[in-house]
Symmetry: C2
Subunit: 530 residues, 2 copies
């Protein structure tokens, strides 16, 4: 045993037990190359590690069951330790220690802790399955995460709020949009978390916590379909049954590298789905690839009502400049590449009403409808909403009927102008104004991102248009979605165009990226001499 | 980057993708000190690692997202790699590689893979909670894992068999034994897996898989309350609501270091609980400590019917010799220590009927009752049972009523002789004939262990006695339970005696074991020079 190592290990365990952040930070080698990983991802750099520690309540108390030490030369040692949390379970830690002038310090650590029965940030209820689908069908074997706004026979709707769940009664039948999936052979694996009343696009929930974003460790998952999206991104489900009022499918799809479809307004029944703002609410889905998404859409949409849409594409400078610089660059680069490779023919530039005006009109009508749907409940249950959603409902409560009526007229006119400007073309735009913000971002920053993103996503809401978000763009390693917005009832055709563009994007990538099965294809290869 | 390391890493990933067991074994340094750990525990030695690989279907296909390499001297390197499974999620691997004459080889590895929504080997359904209890009460905050034999309002009983679940209808009310816990403030976190129809003590299920045993990596969890016990041992639940016909609570308690109580026959309502053999079936609980167990028992038993029992203890040589040698030694040592420390006064030696005769009589009556309960269903659903349970029902189907009637008379007489031999004393015996067998043990070995263990556990079944299994004994690091068997309706008093003995066992341990909070208190400290 190298001198001093065991006592350093013991001191570190004692600092963990006390959650002594200062002492803990001192045990890690300072600098950008120190690593700490667990089931939620890998943190790179001592600052990221210290930030993570500051944001958690501490480590469960535990005893060490076994310790395996490998001395490597005189100045390094690997310690593998098994621990037994006092609250049950077992943990495992692998640490690379190095002897520094200040004593033994940790260079890298991988930590496995005992997992809960289910991750409450993602799921409210889960089963194996929770509801079995019919045998056979086009969706046989597909596991569905149902957003907690849909009636599932035998279960109450919780809408992301425990007090609401408590006041709700179990549904006697499943929503028709869910029944369509079950008939096609899909099964329900669980009921997944949502931002409260779906009235947010951040993907955080003060009651159940923030789901992980497996593609951006430390990043928000996007909402309001946060739980279903994380479940699909993690491979815990294959399909999310979700809603999109003004981005609640497209934003988490963009943040997590998923496919998402917001359907044409009214194309899929909203019966048995808790409303937010009925003029804009739509049902849709998220999946890891276009095939499952298209199969779900085909099983759910009235195909007789579906219309073709020609391959005429448009972009609008305003929708590009509304996004942050990295998103602008990624979007422009993607359109350029698709044009050069022939996947997009001459893209037309169009003008739209000022986005700020459109968004203001949209959000006022949305708020008036949200208050009509939930105002009585919100008034009767003070203190039960998280601060963000509470402030949104407070704003909504102030809109009087006259004001809302005026905005409704504005909205109808704006919609006519949108129809005219698009003229049957497919609008290409970034799915969100940024990639996933950090979970630790300030409220002001989240609010600014919300405004910028909603000014993009509200276009489909205003027009009642279908919109697809496809993955394949990225900014500094974080995924970003490309959105296609098409004429009403062109949902399936839009998906087919999107699948073509996705192939074009994949083909345009460097040959060593995304093509290997087991080779080294990733973003980062970092080598250091320890 | 050390020469040859990256290509060794790539070759290893390729071997994983192909699940090439021969190649994979070659990548690990041969010998007893090589380590591989994941969420299920730490495997020690290259043989254990190869055995683990042989028993799993292979690794999910994945790409590498990032690679962090630390060269340590010339002959060692640590590689931390993030991967992206094609089926979603994210994985993390930390490996210590060493340069050998044969090339780069892995000395230690810790692997984190994407987890499913719920572990189907433990749970059928889980929620946050699944059923909320009343506010306040003696069990406030206690999360209950309900064995899948109990009615839970709104859910069908599955009994560990998917075909049975499919033919069952949702319960309109919860079983009274569950209602008692909910009234006391406990909530249901989920419905947990059982051996099929509870007709086994192994803890394996061909449909949902074998739950982990967090105290014995690679060991069986014990059954039939396998899922609830694993949930409690893992800290995913605090209390298991379970059944014990002939050991189904005491055996998993023993294998996993838990507390378990089988109640006096008839002391807790079996309404709303799927029967196996009603003459022996009892309701009971498992917990990590005696406090929660006693609170659950006090909330569920009719305290007016409970009787005191004096501190008169007995052992029977036969019940010791029925166990394997390690268990014999641990049991004798524990009784010796408890006598020397004054926790046990002079223990009397008593004689019982030959255990083999008692077991034969018991198992015949049990089988006849099991066939009466489930024979029609089993006949109507050929091919739906796993081989072990199928063969047990096949045996049961051959017992005619005359034979069963004869054994019933024998059983009543045996019970009278048991009552006389025990004479109001508390019998001390090992909770099982062995510690947890390996998951890879042969069917013949499992069957031999079953017979030996049931010859111990059937005593309480025959007498209708309550029995407590308390943890604190161990054989080669694996937990073993000490059982106390007392007069009918002495359940609570028996628990109090057991708590006293547990204190005695803990006090008798070396002062550096079990007392630290963060210090090194475990079984193993192994140091090597890499």
């Amino acid at each position: 045993m190298p001198a001093g190592l065991l006592s350093a290990f013991e001191d570190y365990e004692a600092a963990l037990a006390a959650n002594d952040l200062g002492a803990l930070a001192g045990f890690f080698v300072p600098g950008p190359h120190t690593l700490r990983g667990d089931a939620a991802g890998l943190l790179v750099g001592s600052d990221a590690i210290a930030g993570f520690r500051a944001g958690r309540p501490g480590v469960v108390r535990r005893s060490i069951r076994s310790l395996h030490v490998r001395a490597i030369g005189t100045d390094h040692a690997l310690i593998v330790s098994e621990n037994e949390p006092f609250a049950g379970g077992a943990g495992l830690v692998t640490q690379l220690w190095s002897r520094t002038a200040a004593g033994w310090r940790i260079e890298t650590a991988q930590v496995a802790a005992s997992a809960p029965a289910i991750d409450r940030s993602i799921w409210r209820v889960a089963g194996t399955p929770l509801v079995a689908g019919e045998v056979g069908g086009t969706l046989a074997g597909v596991r569905v995460a149902v957003k907690d706004l849909f009636d599932v026979a035998g279960f109450a709707v919780g809408a992301g709020n425990p007090a609401y769940l408590e006041s709700a009664t179990p549904a006697t039948a499943s929503a028709p949009s869910l029944t369509a999936l079950l008939r096609a052979g899909a099964s329900v694996i669980g009921i997944a978390q949502t931002d409260e009343f779906a009235y947010s696009i951040a993907g955080a929930n003060v009651h159940s916590g923030t789901p992980p974003n497996p593609r951006v460790p430390g990043g928000l998952p996007g909402g309001s379909s946060s739980g279903p999206a994380a479940a699909v991104a993690l491979g815990q489900a294959d399909l999310a049954l979700a809603t999109d009022t003004a981005g609640s499918i497209r934003v988490p799809a963009s943040y997590q590298g998923l496919w998402g479809l917001r359907t044409s307004h009214g194309a899929v029944s909203r019966d048995g789905v808790l409303p937010l703002a009925p003029s804009f609410d739509t049902v849709g889905w998220l999946a890891r690839g276009p095939e499952v998404l298209r199969t779900a859409a085909a099983a759910s949409l009235d195909t007789d009502r579906q219309l073709p849409v020609p391959a005429r594409f448009a972009v609008c400078a305003q929708t590009v400049f509304a996004a942050d610089e990295g998103v602008q660059a990624a979007f422009v680069d993607a359109v350029d590449r698709l044009e050069r490779s022939g996947h997009l023919s001459a893209v037309e530039i169009i003008s739209l009403d000022p986005l700020a005006d459109l968004f203001e009109t949209f959000r006022t009508v949305q708020a008036a409808e949200a208050w009509r749907a939930h105002g009585d409940w919100v008034d009767a249950h003070p203190g039960t909403l998280g601060p963000d959603v509470r402030s949104r409902f407070a704003f909504a409560s102030l809109i009087d009927e006259d004001e809302a009526a005026g905005h409704r007229i504005d909205l109808a006119e704006a919609r006519e102008r949108l129809d005219a400007a698009l003229d049957g073309r497919i609008l290409l735009l970034p799915s969100a104004s940024s990639t996933a913000p950090a979970r630790t971002a300030s409220g002001a920053k989240i609010e600014a991102i919300r405004t910028a993103t909603l000014s993009l996503t509200c276009l489909a809401a205003i027009g009642g248009y279908p919109a697809v978000s496809l993955p394949g763009l990225s900014v500094a390693g974080a995924p970003l979605g490309l959105s296609l917005l098409g004429p009403r009832h062109s949902d399936l055709a839009l998906l087919d165009h999107a699948a073509g563009l996705a192939q074009g994007l994949a083909a345009g990538l460097a040959p060593d990226v995304g093509t290997g099965t087991a080779g080294i294809v990733g973003n980062t290869v970092e080598t250091l001499r320890a």
